[in-house]
């Protein structure tokens, strides 16, 4: 160990690996991962969401999975919970859509209405 700076650098990198274990108030992204979700391709969507949040250092974003959301025909489903805002439900997701959700909705704050359950039902 040469300097305090070097230690701080290690801390910064290491912090990313353990931040999951803390109670955080932040954005939650949940992927429906019951049998229906998995067979419709939810896992690549989940992995993309994870990769994107890590790549962009979105430390206050938790990506997690949940059980069947109930509209199996619209799987893969991704729900976004932002504190103080209404839940947004995206349906019929794929990897590309997942990347767009992170960029547009999570980072820029604009809901992509085309992907939402409301738009689909139209």
């Amino acid at each position: 160990m040469k300097s305090l700076e070097e230690l701080k650098k290690i801390r910064q990198e290491a912090k990313k690996r353990v931040v999951l274990r803390e109670n955080r108030e932040g954005i939650r992204i949940v992927v429906g991962m019951a049998t229906c979700g998995i067979s419709a391709g939810a896992r690549p969507v989940l992995m993309t969401l994870l990769e994107e949040t890590k790549k962009r250092n979105l430390e206050d974003v938790t990506v997690n999975q949940t059980g069947c959301i109930g509209i199996c025909r619209l799987e893969p489903i991704v729900e976004v919970y932002k504190p103080g805002e209404e839940k947004v439900t995206y349906v019929d997701m794929n990897e590309e859509k997942a990347r767009n959700v992170i960029a547009e909705h999570i980072v820029n704050g604009n809901v992509i209405y085309d992907y939402t359950i409301g738009a689909y039902e139209d």
């Binding site: 305090l4 801390r11 999951l20 274990r21 994870l50 890590k54 990506v63 999975q65 949940t66 059980g67």
Partner: protein
């Protein structure tokens, strides 16, 4: 860097490991691999969570689902349901961690609510075998700060200002000890960590070393810088294999990162740390005996003065602190002495870790601010006494401590209050006793321990404890006389005053404090020849009451054929044959067998 969406934390403390948490970890890792989840889910083995009663404990993040009493066969369900499909396995959740369909965070559980975890902060959170996880939680920042920004005297003053007192039992001011060592005229100095925890039922230091070994290493390096030492030893008992292994891994990792060794942080400061294994002699927890043992001699105490700060290891000035004391140091350096003083009481700042055991619902490891009352620890954190029994007494300080009775339950826990009432803080064992515990038998148990552990160097301890044990055994066998009680008391006082080291000086405490608060129990044994709690076998007999339905279960269970009787007729115990093993009582469906 791998990315994980979920961390599965498995308790790797000694308690959970002995209930198979190591096999649970292995199976979990295999199952996760089978389901192709090994790129998404990380399994981490941590130190003790403290709630040993609920072990083995598994916590799944980010949800923070707190699973308790996890068995090997439950692993499939956790992997298939929770990790694969995201459905929390409600059946396995710790009952308090789940209410009205909602998960509660770990901190909201009663057991943790009144605790203040400073020393145990990282236990149950980080992987103790991974230095990066320690660094993630500000590990080694205090050492960096000390080496690059502070002079040795600044460090000592900060510790002095914090008011931190030795957690090994005596309660001596840590900063003062550091100052004495700093001022000592010695060409070489040593820093020693006393990890020879020997009290029956105590596992605080063990759990700290198992859960957060780097905290102790970092603190020892800080201490070495402050007092002017370049070498250190951790004296730990060989009976703590997990702690020894993790400590060695931690030392190796710290060396590799250049946090131990030569020229740390390029400041010219060198510090080398080694482990010395003890063979488990209780007396080696006494600092002069511990030093003799490190030197390769027989572990026996020496007269003080000279104190180790003047002439310690190999006659060189040495600083000895206990594990828990060291574990406080990095936090005090980083957050400041004012922060530390805000916790606890005026004269006993900070927190204390206790190993809660005996007749208590939540057996385990708790850390509380000093000044918390015994009631809060026993009822709010410990969950009270099981089976609706009456609380009788609490024993603190192990074989050196004493008992506090039910009417002292509002006593705040700090160094002064406990010794005022004839007990002591000790290293932190806390054994709860209920109405079924015989206090004479408790005293006998502790003296039996001391007789075994007395090193034999001085006569009062070697001979005196042996005679005390003889008297106590005589009383518990129903052969005691009234004058035995007086002899016991005067003998105890003599041993206390005349013994060479702390072991002998405190050994009579269990006798003296039980005599003080429970003299009538001693008298019942001697005058009435009865044991009021039915503990002392020689003083009681087994009887079958009229409740007996003649089911014959007891006579079948009796290992010495002491019970006779025909089917559907009341049975009778032959008291000459009966060995009072109690097997019949546990078999009887009608509670028809009593002992009195």
């Amino acid at each position: 860097m791998d990315i994980y969406r979920s961390h599965v934390i498995i308790c790797g403390g000694t308690g959970c490991t002995s209930s198979n948490s190591d096999k649970i970890e292995e199976k979990m890792i295999n199952n996760i691999k089978d389901k192709n989840l090994d790129k998404e889910v990380k399994v981490v083995r941590t130190g003790c969570f403290g709630l040993c009663e609920a072990g083995p404990i598994v916590v799944v993040y980010p949800e923070g689902a707190f699973y308790s009493h996890v068995k090997l066969k439950d692993v499939d369900e956790i992997v298939n349901e929770h990790l694969l499909k995201g459905r929390i396995v409600e059946r396995l959740l710790y009952k308090e961690a789940f209410s009205e369909g909602k998960l509660k965070s770990v901190n909201e559980i009663d057991f943790y609510k009144k605790q203040r975890r400073i020393v145990l902060d990282n236990c149950g959170v980080i992987n103790p075998e991974d230095i990066d996880e320690y660094i993630a939680y500000d590990g080694y920042m205090a050492l960096g700060k000390v080496l690059t920004e502070m002079r040795p005297l600044d460090v000592i003053n900060e510790i002095k200002k914090s008011g931190l007192r030795g957690r090994g039992g005596g309660g001596f001011l840590t900063g003062r000890k550091w100052e004495l060592t700093y001022n000592a005229n010695s060409d070489i100095k040593y820093v020693i960590c006393n990890a020879d925890e020997g009290d029956p039922g105590a596992f605080m230091d063990r759990s700290i070393l198992e859960g957060d070994p780097h905290a102790v290493i970092e603190a020892m390096a800080i201490a070495a810088y402050a007092v002017g030492a370049n070498n250190g030893y951790v004296y730990i008992r060989a009976e703590y294999p997990i702690a020894v292994r993790r400590l060695q891994i931690a030392i190796d990792q710290a060396k590799e990162k250049g946090l131990l060794g030569e020229n740390i942080f390029e400041t010219g400061f060198n510090f080398h740390l080694e482990i010395r294994l003890g063979a488990g002699a209780f007396v080696c927890g006494e600092e002069t005996a511990l030093i003799s043992s490190i030197e390769g001699k027989r572990g026996m105490p020496n007269n003080k003065p000279p104190y180790p700060s003047d002439k310690g290891l190999w006659n060189k000035s040495s600083l000895i602190n206990n594990v828990e004391t060291f574990a406080n140091i990095p936090k005090i350096i980083l957050k400041g002495s004012d922060w530390f003083r805000e916790i606890g009481t005026e004269k006993s700042p900070g927190t204390k870790v206790f190993a809660l055991g005996g007749k208590i619902k939540n057996t385990g490891l708790v850390e509380i601010p000093m000044g918390t009352t015994l009631r809060e620890v026993i009822y709010d954190i410990g969950g009270g006494i099981p089976n609706n029994k009456e609380f009788k007494a609490v024993q603190t300080g192990g074989p050196s401590g004493g008992c506090l009775t039910a009417d002292l339950i509002e006593t705040p826990i700090d160094f002064e209050s406990l010794s005022t009432f004839g007990s002591m803080m000790g290293s932190g064992g806390m054994i709860i006793m209920d109405e079924d515990n015989c206090m004479v038998d408790i005293a006998r148990f502790f003296i039996d321990f001391t007789v075994d552990e007395s090193c034999g160097k001085c006569t009062p301890c070697r001979e005196g404890t042996k005679r005390m044990l003889e008297i106590l055994e005589k009383i518990t066998k129903g052969k005691g006389e009234l004058e035995d009680i007086d002899n016991l008391e005067s003998l105890a006082n003599t041993i206390k005053q005349a013994s060479l080291c702390g072991l002998g000086q405190t050994a009579p405490n269990p006798v003296l404090s039980t005599l003080k608060y429970f003299r009538e129990e001693y008298e019942a044994h001697v005058i009435d020849r009865t044991c009021p709690t039915g503990t002392c076998k020689d003083l009681l007999s087994f009887y079958i009451t009229d409740e007996c339905k003649g089911c014959t279960k007891c006579s079948k269970a009796c290992p010495v054929d002491a019970i006779e009787g025909k089917v559907k007729q009341k049975h009778i115990i032959d008291r000459d044959k009966c060995i009072k093993c109690g097997e019949c009582i546990s078999q009887c469906p009608f509670d028809a067998i009593i002992k009195k």
